[in-house]
Point group: C3
Chain length 476, copies 3
Amino acid sequence: MPDPRQDLLFPADPGVRTLARRLHALAAEQPIISPHGHVDPAILAEDRPFPDPAQLLIVPDHYLTRMLLSQGVPPGRLGVPTVDGSPTETDGRAIWRLFAAHWHLFRGTPSRLWLEQTFREVFGLSTALGPATADEVYDAIAARLAEPEFRPRALFERFGIEVLATTESPLDDLAWHAKLAADGWGGPGGRVITTFRPDNVVDMEFEDWAGNVERLGAIAGEDTGTYAGYLAALRRRREAFVAAGATCSDHGHPTARTLALDRAEAAALYDRGRRGTADAADAEAFRAHMLVEFARMSIDDGLVMQLHPGSVRNHNRWLYARHGRDVGGDIPQATEYLHALTPLLDAHGNDPRLRVVVYTLDEYTFTRELAPLAGGYAALYLGAPWWFLDSPEVLRRFRESVTETAGFYNTAGFVDDTRAFCSIPVRHDVARRVDAGFLARLVAEHRLDEDEAAETIVDLAYRLPRRVYKIGERSQ
Amino acid sequence: MPDPRQDLLFPADPGVRTLARRLHALAAEQPIISPHGHVDPAILAEDRPFPDPAQLLIVPDHYLTRMLLSQGVPPGRLGVPTVDGSPTETDGRAIWRLFAAHWHLFRGTPSRLWLEQTFREVFGLSTALGPATADEVYDAIAARLAEPEFRPRALFERFGIEVLATTESPLDDLAWHAKLAADGWGGPGGRVITTFRPDNVVDMEFEDWAGNVERLGAIAGEDTGTYAGYLAALRRRREAFVAAGATCSDHGHPTARTLALDRAEAAALYDRGRRGTADAADAEAFRAHMLVEFARMSIDDGLVMQLHPGSVRNHNRWLYARHGRDVGGDIPQATEYLHALTPLLDAHGNDPRLRVVVYTLDEYTFTRELAPLAGGYAALYLGAPWWFLDSPEVLRRFRESVTETAGFYNTAGFVDDTRAFCSIPVRHDVARRVDAGFLARLVAEHRLDEDEAAETIVDLAYRLPRRVYKIGERSQ
Amino acid sequence: MPDPRQDLLFPADPGVRTLARRLHALAAEQPIISPHGHVDPAILAEDRPFPDPAQLLIVPDHYLTRMLLSQGVPPGRLGVPTVDGSPTETDGRAIWRLFAAHWHLFRGTPSRLWLEQTFREVFGLSTALGPATADEVYDAIAARLAEPEFRPRALFERFGIEVLATTESPLDDLAWHAKLAADGWGGPGGRVITTFRPDNVVDMEFEDWAGNVERLGAIAGEDTGTYAGYLAALRRRREAFVAAGATCSDHGHPTARTLALDRAEAAALYDRGRRGTADAADAEAFRAHMLVEFARMSIDDGLVMQLHPGSVRNHNRWLYARHGRDVGGDIPQATEYLHALTPLLDAHGNDPRLRVVVYTLDEYTFTRELAPLAGGYAALYLGAPWWFLDSPEVLRRFRESVTETAGFYNTAGFVDDTRAFCSIPVRHDVARRVDAGFLARLVAEHRLDEDEAAETIVDLAYRLPRRVYKIGERSQ
């Protein structure tokens, strides 16, 4: 009897389910293209065994720690490090047990789905996690992690990953990527490539922006004492990133605002920033302007721009004060695209040399702004639902909402956006299953022939992300 | 042959429907917890027979009268009283016939569902309402209402209500609740409890706020001539409400804005309000500040805060001028939570002693703001979809939208929020059916095991509202 | 064996599908009422053969040309004329082949559905369009277009259109409608009627508004040098439109804002506009005020107001500069209704002599504002999802969202809003199929009896649009 989990996430109607199964099978055999994520390149460069199950799967996953925080369990008890170095739980097994005791909180969440499928598919477990089985599951995973087949590079191969892009700041020396290239794993056209993410030298509200800009000059060999030197330094670093295999830049801004200042205005803002006299409006204007500046650079050097707007960082101030950034304290805000993107689109929106992939944390823009924009400008593509929206229900609503105006081919394909290396195949499989279910419904409702749906699902899983993110185009 | 209505609201797919039926059966045997509503406590304190069917079911139900108004039937013809006392229809049968003639307007609405199920399940009718059957249905209900089994307390027992919370203002003397307590029906841990709803002494834009504040002083035995006395009076009344069984406060504000003023600023605002020189911004600031003040009080006295923002009261000015408040003239407005709640969350959001249940009239915040907030702060819970959103389709979208980020256990369970006593079991059953259908789909899609879904639906129906609203915790 | 396409767009569940098929059959036999659209009346007045397939079906359809633009194909290659007269492609076959080469872009879009069904149902083709069949499809359509059965009036009859409303500006001399009336096709109660669309003489930001106002005076025989003369001229033109069969006016504004200025304020704005000193705020205020002014005129002359807010016109500036208006460069913006409509609703919202049909490009207002407003004011009706939202998925979400608060009978029925004459029956059929599927689900979930659903679907398809848009009321 076949495993009923083969039908995970497929619509329940038997006819649609049969169609979904056939379509998913085509997607399942495609390699994984992971053009945007946050895996630490050191993991693959060093290829050391992973740490214990809790350190690998619980502690760094802010989806998990924030859920327990929401029920009164402070992150320190789950081993999340503190800013001031005051001690937190370090016993992996204790963390694991505490987590397992709260496993019911994750019912109906993608975290539950990802972890459960990771246990099953990656680690080969058949025992369901729960308070009573915490130790059994912990021990089984720990045992696997000690095996050579569970080293990062071995998993990378087993996962069928063709290309994985990490994300680095311009201040990163890209040493890990150099090591990967030396090992035949990195560099242009390689299996592990980088992405140019300049927020810490662009956003004046970033911690120690002025210091970062100094360091940018030093690493680039340019004088960032002037705006012209700053731009030159950014261009130099982009060259270095391209040489390390980058095909994309990435920009995480509180809003989608863009602005085309003239050179003198931009320089004046920059100077205010360096002197420490810029206010919040200046910082927003400079971020907005730099997006247009980066679009110009992209037209020159070919990097695909990714724009991730709409997160209010560190909204939970207690959490930020105690545990710092990226531990679950960010919350989305309403995001306006139409007026915000106008300056960028006026300047370059119809230029097919530019490619901008826009993501959102605000699904209430899908039909009103995002689909009409992507379906009307040559430069714009829609990124996959992101972060809080990276879930079966929203992936489905995304297709149900944007396809009718933007079609499938103005979307960019799935990105996992994760630092959780072991969950990568599961996350891509979830997206492929949702797409299979959506396409199956179109076929069942006679809106698409099955042969077209079959071609489309392979496009979505493989060909489209390769093309949109320019993966493999520069291989040598 | 079983009544096909047993499958009311369940998804049509036979496999999912079978699962839904099993899950719903578990919920159906749970008692009803009604932690928020507007039933008049006098009904249960006096336990008199209900009035005629129209006065019971039509005249006070603004869902019904506004729908007929939208098709040109003025509320006076349905018996809605006027502000100036000018006469309106008083003949219950005439009102009933007029309503029945417009019954088709309610196709596809929850009002239709509630009424139809009330006729069937509460009054045991098998005749469908329509213009031709108006008299038959009227007479049948009227006959039932004359029977002792249809007195309020008898129905309360038959409905399987374990606890019902009514809502009173601090100016209420709680005499009905005292009578209920004397009869063994009320008081802490009783079957009928109150809720502290201070809008009329907090909102300077409320009719005669200054007079209300005077009366507050009188009833509390404090001098509300000063801000300190005002706070003391509120604390006194909260004590009285707790003594009458209250476990919650409730706050109906036009926005979700909160503000942490210092004592002097707050006192200055209060004084401007009392002198009649406060403007709209002052009123908004004072409301916002008082939410933080009430949070502090809640940490002390344990009352769970309920926040109901986003209604523009008396939008239909003709209706307000003619028939007053709460007759269907309110309309929702876009509601921002993220920035609005920041001051409150900064102050107390991670304090597990505080519990704030947030409701919404704006479903376009579910995934963007509400679920991330509830899934990231210990103090926050999501209330059930409310008022215009208290309907099968939105209850379903609520689960489809918030579960993936907040899970089931940061939601507070269903509240009926109704003054229509006879519809209470039906309303809870509708919510249980929708939850059963949603959980059944998760099971059918292999996202949840059936035993977990079974535990979850009982939690949602019974355990979770008891726990979140602290029902029964203080019983003596 | 029956054509499986008979089940196009019906839900896949066999039980629901069977119900949907029965309900749709009732709708399918109803005549088409098309109370709002943009068909050129000359087509029907002259009744000449249509041009080649590309000129008929591709070149004027901005849904199609914008999708190819979004993938880097400039509109000139598809034959879209330029503002400066510089040449674009004129070879219909070359345009058709280029379009067919990009046919996959339309998978999952309503354009695909409309065209495919037009090919099949209107032109009787059985060959699917694709790069390989482009010529075959082109030749087959071209051959049909040469036949007398494919002349406009013959198609009008074959399509089962009972009444078609076109849209003209007050500057139009209505000569085509006079010809139609002379032929027995037009005039009050006729088969082809006009609609009064005054944007070009109301919106000061419209190209050459001042000149248009001059021309308005000339055509109306009034002195538009004063505001009083301007109002008199508008009233005159409304009389002329009523005499040509109009039952509606139509207003396309960037926002839904309304404003009740006094006569002197309005006159001052008008004068600033004529002198060229009005700014953007003046223009917005004047548009807003004129909606209230038109409401007053509607109460007098009975024209039903249609309000189409929320489109940012010519957002794609390159496209506008090169190809002008209405070629796919407009994008929706967030649209607020509650506060915007307040002045109009305060003045006339409860007056059943007024009827205002409100459309939206922003579906994220369905449950929050639109349904509560339409379900609470006698004058308001909800128009069908429009333009980017005129698609199966949104038509379904519209019913799922607005029905619970507004019911079916505060919606106005489907309008095709198209200039693509040949697609009219297909578009109406899509809407009828979606409504059948929605009603079938209500029946399957025991929320509605089948006999009520049967009555409702005929109301939605035929009786409701006739009544709401006052079609046939003034026939002589």
